[in-house]
């Protein structure tokens, strides 16, 4: 594959927070998407969410005016993958599950097709052990909301080939994103820094040092954080945050990465953040 390659159709696996956001970004950039998840109810919800996100992107002037939108198809099977110009995996942050699904993907796609994991922090080389062609696998770390954040962290595993790295950078250009390529490590750069910081922010609240609002206000007002760590937790999804912290703790052994009790409690209570209507903040009422 060459860098002037055209991307007409990509496959996105997982229709949750990130799969939906990446799909919105692709459609809005004129690239058609085959969106795959395990059940049709999730896909139906994603379809309506993507419609809303496309309107949001337009409202904020985040869509290019120079091209028609891509087409969306949804499916509970990966059979369409043979026709994809690239595959982006955005399923649950579970190393075993990702390895299994990426292994299946690598049997279905044409050789040379970028197989991209959007993992928050599972090392790419660990996943590379499960695929047919490790040179075709790499990581991209899109941020939520994907269609509004123009920067993407790209992870090159030790076995990632030059060709798919170049093809992925071309895809990101089509998607109007800027990329920074980093080496493989647990949490890469952004999760390694952000996730323990959010974990500490939750600990600070649990210990009674400050309220949720005051932690966010201080981080915004004093340190220039755009939303504050706890509002960011709500945006990420606290279930995913805990999974990503667990994965990071398992691989680094650093106590700071072990999800604190308050985060776990929120997951047990179903307070997952924006996606469930309540997390550290309430999204049913009040301004979001």
């Amino acid at each position: 594959m060459t860098t002037d390659q055209q991307f007409h159709r990509i496959a996105v696996l997982g229709a949750g927070v990130m799969g939906s956001g990446i799909t919105t970004l692709a459609l809005g950039s004129g690239v058609s998407v085959d969106l795959v998840d395990v059940d049709t109810r999730t896909l139906d919800r994603a379809r309506s969410g993507i419609r809303t996100q496309l309107r949001h992107a337009q409202l904020l002037g985040a869509l290019p005016g120079d091209r028609p939108q891509g087409e969306l198809t949804t499916s509970v099977s990966m059979s369409g993958l043979a026709h994809a110009d690239a595959v982006i995996e955005a399923i649950t942050e579970d190393a075993g599950l990702k390895a299994k699904v990426l292994g299946e993907v690598s049997e279905l796609v044409r050789p040379g097709t970028p197989v991209i994991s959007n993992t928050s922090g599972i090392p790419i080389d660990e996943l590379a052990g499960a695929v047919r062609r490790p040179e075709d696998l790499l990581g991209t770390h899109f941020m939520n909301p994907t269609y509004l954040i123009s920067m993407v962290e790209v992870i090159r595993g030790p076995r990632t080939g030059d060709a798919v790295l170049a093809a992925t950078q071309a895809l990101l250009t089509t998607l109007r994103r800027k990329a920074v390529v980093v080496r493989d490590a647990p949490g890469f750069v952004t999760s390694r820094l952000l996730h323990p910081m959010i974990n500490d922010a939750a600990r600070i609240v649990a210990e009674g040092t400050a309220t949720v609002e005051d932690v966010d206000t201080l981080m915004q007002g004093c340190l220039g954080h755009p939303t504050g760590p706890l509002r960011t937790a709500d945006l990420i999804g606290i279930d995913n945050l805990v999974d990503a912290l667990d994965a990071l703790y398992e691989r680094t052994g650093e106590k700071r990465n072990s999800p604190c009790e308050l985060l776990r409690e929120k997951v047990r209570a179903g307070e997952l953040g924006r996606k469930s209507g309540r997390g550290f903040y309430d999204y049913g009422e009040g301004i979001s």
């Binding site: 809303t52 309107r55 949001h56 337009q58 409202l59 904020l60 002037g61 909301p145 509004l148 009422e285 009040g286 301004i287 979001s288």
Partner: protein
């Protein structure tokens, strides 16, 4: 003068009051009709879409295409003007 035109000032006042009440309930702050709600940090870009959906649901209008721009939602006055225009357009196509 048509009935519609005579009704406009009253309708405008009603839309404006409704929007101010909606914003004040959401932000728990007093909002002025000409205040730039995004510029003053009162509302976030995530909240902008809630305003769109609120206006569509309350006034039976559809905000799309070139009208779907943050600029039109910056102040209560601008949102009122947009709503009045889209309502009038919808009613004229209904009766046509």
């Amino acid at each position: 003068m048509t009935i519609n035109e005579a009704a406009t000032p009253a309708l405008a006042a009603q839309i404006q009051a409704g929007l101010l009440a909606f914003l004040e309930a959401k932000t728990k702050q007093v909002v002025a009709p000409g205040q730039d709600i995004f510029g003053t940090g009162l509302a976030t870009s995530m909240f902008a879409l809630e305003l769109v959906v609120h206006l569509e649901g309350t006034y039976g209008i559809e905000i799309a295409g070139p009208d779907l721009r943050l600029e039109h939602f910056r102040t209560v006055e601008k949102m009122t003007a947009l709503t009045l225009r889209l309502k009038a357009e919808a009613e004229s196509t209904d009766s046509a």
